[in-house]
């Protein structure tokens, strides 16, 4: 579904990614693990067309999408949930969702407001509230809901558990399971290994802009040296 090969990315003079390769299969949840600054967010942003200087290949459903504008990439069926949430604080919850709304897409689950409100009951109560009036956890839910309104086939989730309370993180895990049950593919970046283990099928470990390891969590547990050297937990 998503096939990244030899991806380089730069910001100005700083070289952030160096030959990154990864793939996400149909209806698979894949975790991208690594320290902060290792290149997880940059990988996500590069896929989404938000990094201007990139080289290499990013193929989505067989089509090369590297170098395309981010709205084109979104329209092709990739949804992006940024790390900093970036909800529209001056718009209501409903209007936030409206911004994300796109046509239904063949082969992808179609999300309606009602369907979303079932998944995120808090948002229904607050549909007329402004985005900035929501709590951190509610904002995190809204940013995911907003992306689902675009009926994506693949969702990029950048650090969904960052900065929110453990109870909400548990809710988040349920949401991701739900997305998988709906048939979506998910690529998520994480630092919370406990959480990543709960929700993902496979993991990649990225370090200083390079892929160092990939495999299942069972394999990861069998090689304590790997997690020791790259994640040190």
């Amino acid at each position: 579904m998503l096939e990244v090969n030899g991806l380089n990315a730069r910001y100005g003079r700083a070289h952030i990614l160096n030959g990154v390769a990864l793939s996400v299969g149909e209806n698979e949840v894949v975790a991208l693990l690594g320290r902060n600054g290792a290149g997880k967010s940059t990988t996500m942003k590069s896929v989404m067309g938000l990094v201007r200087q990139t080289e290499g290949s990013i193929r989505y459903e067989g089509q090369e999408i590297r170098g395309k504008a981010s709205h084109t990439i979104c329209r092709a069926g990739i949804g992006y949930v940024p790390e900093e949430r970036r909800i529209f604080g001056e718009l209501t919850v409903e209007e936030n969702l409206e911004v994300g709304r796109r046509e239904a897409r063949p082969g992808a689950p179609e999300w309606t407001l009602d369907h979303l409100f079932k998944l995120f009951p808090n948002l229904e109560e607050r549909r007329r509230n402004l985005g900035k009036q929501l709590s951190g956890g509610e904002q995190q839910m809204l940013t995911i809901a907003r992306t689902l309104m675009g009926n994506p086939k693949l969702v990029l989730l950048d650090e969904p558990s960052e900065g929110i309370a453990p109870v909400i993180v548990e809710q988040m895990a349920k949401v991701i399971e739900e997305l998988k049950a709906e048939g979506l593919s998910v690529l998520l970046s994480e630092q919370n290994l406990h959480f990543a283990r709960l929700v993902s099928d496979r993991a990649y470990i990225i370090e200083k802009g390079e892929m160092r390891w990939n495999g299942t969590f069972a394999e990861l547990d069998a090689q304590p040296a790997v997690s020791q050297s790259y994640l040190a937990v």
């Binding site: 700083a14 690594g34 320290r35 902060n36 600054g37 290792a38 709590s135 951190g136 956890g137 558990s161 960052e162 900065g163 929110i164 309370a165 453990p166 109870v167 909400i168 993180v169 548990e170 895990a173 630092q191 919370n192 290994l193 406990h194 959480f195 709960l198 994640l231 040190a232 937990v233």
Partner: protein, 257 residues
């Protein structure tokens, strides 16, 4: 020895919502105190009242017996309170060392000096502080090029420049990898012990909290609902319900032993 910080009946409401409701606690010298709670529980509001960015509706905050309420943040800093931020705040257009030098220049009250070369002042002191956080080898790099974890360590060096009695750290490990989190807090704990600084910090990473905090305060809806050691807090059913959840997303107690 008497408490470094005494907080009494601290309250604040925003537009009718009670953000912080009658919170009281003390911090002893050399103590590592964690403030935890769900999002919107009032941790940040509480913090901002301690360091002078917000004025409480009621209550008192005393640093070594001196009242802090009504004192602007910069004066609170001069009285011996250092701080780090949830999202790092550094001078991006300066080098790593210059960032520390700025804190020293201000500490020595020379910010209105218009003729000296700033970059040549207090070099040795700045280097010593950078050694403390193992950042000496990066001292000449532009701050804008640093990795996030290094920025956090730099902030720690800046916060220690004026030899504070109390360090306020707002989510010190937010946005860091697990290994870095542990390393940063171990570093902080070491410094705390050697320099006799007290620390109050907020945190969402329970692994960090349970590994380092001497004592934990739990806030919910503006009120202090629990206080105690790591084991006591884990066992507290109210805290489990409003905050910790089923314990699937942080380590079991045995792992910390």
């Amino acid at each position: 020895m008497s408490a470094v910080l005494e907080v009494q009946g601290l309250s604040k409401s925003f537009g009718g919502v009670q953000a912080v409701d009658d919170v009281s606690f003390t911090v002893e010298p050399g103590e590592f105190l964690a403030l935890i709670g769900p999002n919107g529980a009032g941790k940040t509001t509480c913090f901002n009242m301690l360091n002078g960015y917000l004025r409480p509706d009621a209550g008192s905050v005393k640093l070594r017996g001196q009242e802090l309420i009504g004192t602007p943040p910069r004066k609170i800093w001069r009285m011996g309170v250092g701080r780090t931020f949830q999202i790092t705040e550094t001078f991006l257009s300066m080098t790593v060392r210059e960032n520390v030098q700025m804190a020293l220049i201000s500490h020595h009250r020379r910010i209105y000096d218009i003729f000296s070369r700033a970059t040549r002042l207090y070099v040795d002191e700045a280097n010593a502080l950078l050694d403390l956080v193992s950042m000496r080898d990066q001292s000449a790099r532009p701050c804008s090029e640093l990795a996030y974890g290094d920025l956090k360590r730099l902030e720690l060096a800046i916060a220690l420049a004026h030899r504070p009695a109390l360090l306020l750290m707002d989510e010190p490990t937010a946005g860091m990898a697990p290994s870095e989190r542990i390393a940063l807090m171990a570093l902080t704990a070491g410094i705390v012990e050697r320099e006799g600084v007290s620390v109050v910090f907020t945190e969402h990473d329970m692994d960090v909290v349970f590994a380092h905090a001497h004592r934990i305060l739990v806030l919910n809806r503006g009120m202090l609902i629990a206080e105690g050691s790591g084991a006591e807090i884990r066992a507290n059913p109210t805290v489990q319900e409003v905050y910790l959840g089923g314990g699937t997303v942080f380590q079991k107690e045995a792992d910390h032993a």
